[in-house]
Symmetry: C2
């Protein structure tokens, strides 16, 4: 499907409004199916006390609630900015069809957001990251995975 | 602070229980402050129809609601598995002190989860990813960022 510039203009307007209303950062996103917006989301990190409440995460959660599913097959996401690693990860788990974005992660970095920094951190091995990460009780932790393998009626995702 | 193996054992037990109860995948996490668990989370993607409801995301959201903040300064996170890119991004936005994990992303890949695949995808430029990403209306999208820069009473995060 072709990109719909009128949808991106709506997303951009939402991002500006989100700043002006004081709800959060300058970010908005929508989920589109069959050419129509089915869910919206803006960044509400500071107003909702939720560091995970970025625009894409909020839009994906809203869309899945509406569609009663945990997958966005055949949907497109329009977002005012290239997704941060958290949101890109969420997108991969939700598995939409196409992503359209306005600003880049470099644009985000230039106004003080950590997106580029976090992308760099992901490339370091766990023990070299700025937030230290240490493995613990690996021999015991695997029991959860063994339980998953053994479960016959599991719902894969 | 030293790692507390009894906390990790509790997290591992939660991950097994999460499979057995059919709530979701074999993953659990807790947020710890001053040596005490202040919030728990398990993977409830399929039972809640929320692809973002991984254990770490759920635990971070619960902890922030409890502490009435969007930052986890001085907190540690114990998670049954090395975080996927979405959860690692969420951790960077929440800014806890230390992460302890049980299984690795390779362990997760070996039982069918996409963690390693998503890590690889993040290293590709947007236009080369398996979910296509395309920039649109960059000249207009920047208006949200300009509004953010101009706002005097903004709450940074």
């Amino acid at each position: 499907m072709e990109a719909d510039e009128s949808i991106m203009r709506h997303v951009i307007a939402l991002s500006v409004e989100n700043v002006q209303s004081g709800r959060g950062g300058p970010f908005a996103a929508v989920v589109v199916r069959d050419g129509k917006i089915i869910a919206e989301g803006t960044n509400v990190v500071t107003s909702e006390n939720d560091p995970t409440a970025h625009a894409e995460i909020t839009a994906i959660r809203n869309a899945c609630q509406k569609l009663n599913t945990f997958q966005l097959d055949g949907c497109d996401i329009y977002t005012s900015c290239e997704p941060c690693p958290m949101c890109l990860g969420a997108i991969y788990w939700a598995r939409p069809r196409t992503i359209y974005y306005g600003n880049t992660k470099s644009d985000a970095a230039s106004i003080g957001f950590d997106d580029s920094f976090i992308y760099e951190q992901l490339d370091h091995p766990p023990e070299k990251r700025s937030i230290p990460m240490r493995q613990l009780l690996a021999d015991e932790a695997i029991s959860g995975f063994r339980a998953w393998e053994a479960k016959e009626d599991k719902i894969a995702y």
